[in-house]
Amino acid sequence: METAITVVLFVLLLATAIILGRQRNLFAASMLTGIFSLVSAGLFTVMEAVDVAFTEAAVGAGISTVLMLATLSLTEDVEAREKKISWPALAVVVLTGGALIYGTLDMPNFGDPHAVVHGEIARYYIDRSWDEIGLPNMVTSILASYRGSDTFGELGVVFVAGTSVLLLLGGRRSELPASGESPGHERPSSRPPGKRHAHVREMPVVRTVAKVMLPYIVLFAFYVQAHGDFGPGGGFQAGVILATAFILFGLVFGPQELVRHVPPERLERIMAVGLMIYGGVGVVAMLLGGQFLAYGVFTPSHPSHGHHYGIFMVELGVGITVSAVMIIIYATFATRRPSLAPQVVLDAEDRCETEVSADDVPLVPEERALRSGADLLAEGAAGTDAASEVPS
Amino acid sequence: MSQSLGVGVALGLPVVGAALVALAGKRPNVREAVTGLTGLATFVAVAALYPAVVAGRLPELQLVEAMLPGVPLMFRVEPLGMLYALVAAGLWPVTSAYAAGYLREHHEQNQTRFFVCFALSIFAALGIAFAGNLATLFLFYEVLTLATFPLVTHHQTPEAQRAGRVYLGILMGTSVCFLLLAIAFTYYAAGTLDFVPGGILRGHVATSSLPLLLALFVYGCGKAALMPLHRWLPNAMVAPTPVSALLHAVAVVKAGVFAILKIVVYVFGLDLLRDTGASDWLMFMASVTILLASLIAFKQDNLKARLAYSTISQLAYIVLGAAMVTPDAILGGGLHIATHAVGKITLFFCAGAIIVTAHKTEVSQLDGLGKKMPITMAAFLIGSLSIIGLPPTGGSWSKWLLALGAAEQSPVLVGVLMLSSLLGIGYLLPIPLRAFFFDPPASPAREHGHGHGHDHDHGHAQDHEHGEAHPLMLVPLSLTAVGCLLLFFYSQHVVALLRPLVTP
C-alpha cells in the first residue's frame, strides 16, 4: 500500500518536474514548483517525516511560490525563447546521476531497520532523549538541544537571508500612497485597457474571507509554536505560518497597507532580536558554568527542566526571527519600485535589441509596484497572453 | 666578535648610503658626495677584514637563526669572497666619481634612483661575496638582479624596456628555474647548504647525476653569461655607461662566475669533480663560448657591444678555470676575476668618456681620436693589453696560470687559450691603433656612406671641437689603468690570498 502511494507520488513529482522544465510561462512554472513542494511534502508524510513535511509545505509551497510571483511581477514573466537541448549540460547531468546510481549499489535496502544509519547514535536519541530531555517529539529534542548549534546556524542563515534581501532590494521602496482610505479601492487596473480583469482586491468576498481567516491563522501559529514539543511543529514552522498571515494580509490589502501597519524598521530590529535571544540563551549557559547551549545548567538539580526552559526560549527566538525575516522578505519584494527599463532581447544574430515589453507600457511605477503575486495569479491567463506578446 | 661586527658594517654601509642618497635626492652635490664617501667607507670596512682572512681567521656573521628550516642567514668571509668583495668595493668609489661626471655631462633623468639602485647593487654584491651558505647566496643573487633591473631600464625608452625584459627574463628565469632547483636538490640530498671546504656532495649524489646538477648550477648562474644564456649582456648595454662599467664588467657578471667558482670549490669540491670528471662537458662549453664570443666581438662595430662580447669571452675563461679543477686553473680563475675587472672597467670608462665627449659610439668613428683624447686612449691601450693578457699588465698572470692549468688537463685547451688571445689582439688593439695612427676622417659620411645611421646623426658632431674628457671621468679611468699595471707587480699577494682554496 505504502509502496503504491510512494510510486504514485514519485510519478507525479517526475511529471511536475518535467513539465516545469518545459514550461515557458514562468507563472505556470512557479505554480508547478509550489505543486512539486506540496507533493514532496506528501511523500515526506508517507515516509513518516512529519516535521519535514510540515516545513516543506509551509516553505516550499507557500513562501517560495509567493516570492517567485513577486519577482516575476518585477521582471519578465516568460522565458525569452526555448533553448535547444544543451549537450554539455546533459553530459554533466548524466555523469552526476550515473555516479549517484553507482553509489546506490552498495546502499542498504530501503527501510532496512538494521542499516548503519539507524545505529548507535540514532538509537541513543530514541532510547535516551525521553529521560534526558523529556519531550515527546524527538526531532525537537535533537534539533534544539543535541544539535542545537546546527539550528543556531540555521537561524543565522535565515538572518543572513533577511539582511541580504534588505541590502539588495531595500534601497528603493515605492512611497506610500496617499493615506486615508485603504489602497486597492478604485485604483486603475494594472492591465492595459481592453483586457481588464476583476482585481483581487476589489473582490469583497476575498477581502471578507481574509479578514475572517487572519486571526485563526495567527492563533494556529501560536499553537504550532507551543505544541512543537509534543507534535510536529516548532519555532520555525510557527514563524513561517505567522508570516503567511501577514503575507496574506499584504496580498489582499496591498503591501503598502502591510508596510504601514508593520513598519519594516521595527521588523529589522525584531529579526535581530530573535537571533540574539537564541545566542543569549547559549551565552547565559556559558556564564552559569556550562558549555554554549548547555541548558542543563539552568536547573542543576533537575536538568531536564533546564532543557525545557532552554528549548522554549530557543524556539521562541527561532519563531521571532523567522517570522520577521519572512515578512521582511515579502514586503521588500512587494514594495520594490520597479525600474521602467525596457526589456532587452537577443535577435537572431545575437545582437541585442532593446524594446519595451508589453506590460511595461501602461504602468506608472507606483501602480506597478502595487501589483503583487496574487493579482498576477488572478490574471494568470492575461499574464500569459500578455507575455506571449513579447517577441522572442 | 669585532670581526663579525666588521662584516656587519661592511654590509650595512651601502644600505645606509642608499638611504642617505634617497634623502639627499634633491641636492645633487650632497647626493654624490654621500655616494663617494660611503663608497670609500665601504672599501675601508671591507679592507679591514683582509688581515683576518689572510691569517685564516674567517670572520663570520649570523643574522637569522633559520631563514629556511635548518638554514641560517649567515655570512662567512673566505678568501675568494674577500677578493671579490675587495674588487667590487674598491671600484665602487671610483665608478661613482666617474658616474657623477658622466650623468651630469649627459643630463640623465632619475639620477637619484640611479644612485640608490647603484648602492643597493653593491650591497647585494657584497652579500654574495660574503654569503656563508647557498641560501644566503641565492637571496643576494636575486637582490642583485632586482636592484640592477631599474638601472638597465634607466632610460625608460621602449628599447630600454625591451632590454629590461630580456635581462629580467633570463637572469631571474635561470636563477628561479635552475639555481633554485639545484639548491633545493642539494639540500634534499646533502641536508645542508653551508659552504664547506672540500664540498658537501660527496657520497650524497649519484655520480651519474653530478654533471646534471653542475649544469643546473652553472646555467642557474645566468649572470656568468655562459653561452647560450649570454643574450642579456649585450642587451644590457643600453644602460648608461657607468652601469655597464661597474655592473656588467665587475659586480653583476663577476657575481655569476664568482658563484660558480665558489660552488665548484665549496659545494662540489675539487676532488669530487676531478674524480668523477663531472665538469668535462663544462670545459667544452666554456671553450666554445670563449671562441665564439671573441669571433662575434670582431664583427661588432658598436664599441660597447664589442666590449660586451669580449666580456662574455673573458667570463668563460673563469668558468673554464673552474671547470678544469686543477689548482693552478682555480687560482688563475680567481685572479682573473680581479684582473679582468680592472681591465674591463678601464675600457668601459674610456668608451663612456668617448661617447660623452666625442659623441662617438662606433669603432669605425674613432680614427684619429687619440690626438684629441690622448690620456683616454692610452688608458684604453693599457686596458686592452690587460684583457689580452700581455705584460706589463695583471692580465698576463691570470692567463698564465690558466694556461698552466690547461696544460695539466689537455693541450687542446692551451690551444684554445692561445687562439682566443690572438683573437683578443685582433678585436681590441685596432681601436687604440686607429685612434693614434689613423687620420681623422675628412667627412665620415663619405667614408661610411653605406652603414650607420649614427653617422648622419653625428654628421654635425664630427666637426664640433672637443678636448680631453671631463676630469671627473679622466681621473677614474687613469686610476684603473694604473691599477692594471700595478696588478702585474703585486698579483702574488692575490695568489697568496687565494692559495687556501686549493691547499686544504
Binding site: 516570492l67 547531468v93 531497520p113 526531532v139 544539535r147 540555521e154 526589456q343 532587452v344 537577443l346 | -
Partner: protein, 156 residues
C-alpha cells in the same frame, strides 16, 4: 549480482538530475532558481529516504499515561532534523537569488543569462577599446618625449 532494494533512491536521483539540468541548461535566471530548488528538495528526499525504517512510526514518543510505550519502532529522527535545516537553507538561497535577479533585470533590462552575458561582453570590449585609444594617444606623445630624450643623450 542481486541489486539491493534501492529503487526509490533511483527515483530521487532522477528528480535531482532534472533539477540539475534545468539549472545548467536554462538561460532564464528565475527558471534556473526553480531548478535549483528542485535539486535541493530532491536531496532532502534522499536524506529522508535513508532515515526511513519499514514499519517505523514518526519519531514522536507514543505515550501511555506519561511514559513512552516500550518496543515501538520509530523512524530515524536525525535525517529529519538535518533536513529541516536544509529546507531553510534552500529558501534562504532562493530568496537571495531572486533578489539578485530583480537587481539584474533593473540593471540590464533582462533576466536571461545569454543576453546579460552579451551585454557584459560589450561593456568590456568598449572599455578595452577606450583604453587602447587612450594608450595610443599618450604613446604618441611619450614617443616624441622619448625620442627627444634619446637625441638629447647623443647631442648633450
Amino acid at each position: 549480482m542481486t541489486l539491493p532494494n534501492v529503487w526509490n533512491y533511483w527515483a530521487v536521483v532522477v528528480l535531482m538530475m532534472v533539477g540539475l539540468y534545468i539549472v545548467i541548461a536554462k538561460p532564464n535566471y528565475v527558471k534556473k532558481l526553480m531548478g535549483l530548488s528542485l535539486f535541493q528538495v530532491s536531496v532532502i528526499m534522499l536524506y529522508v529516504s535513508m532515515g526511513r525504517v519499514t514499519g517505523g512510526t514518526a519519531p514522536i514518543y507514543i505515550l501511555d499515561d506519561g511514559a513512552p510505550r516500550p518496543f515501538v519502532l520509530y523512524t530515524n529522527p536525525v535525517p529529519h532534523v538535518l533536513m529541516l535545516t536544509a529546507i531553510v537553507v534552500g529558501i534562504a538561497t532562493t530568496a537571495v537569488g531572486l533578489a539578485l535577479v530583480v537587481r539584474i533585470r533593473e540593471a540590464y533590462g533582462s533576466s536571461e543569462e545569454d543576453v546579460v552575458a552579451e551585454l557584459d561582453r560589450r561593456e568590456v570590449e568598449a572599455a578595452n577599446a577606450l583604453a587602447a585609444q587612450r594608450a595610443a594617444e599618450s604613446d604618441a606623445s611619450s614617443a616624441t618625449a622619448a625620442h627627444a630624450g634619446a637625441s638629447h643623450e647623443e647631442h648633450a
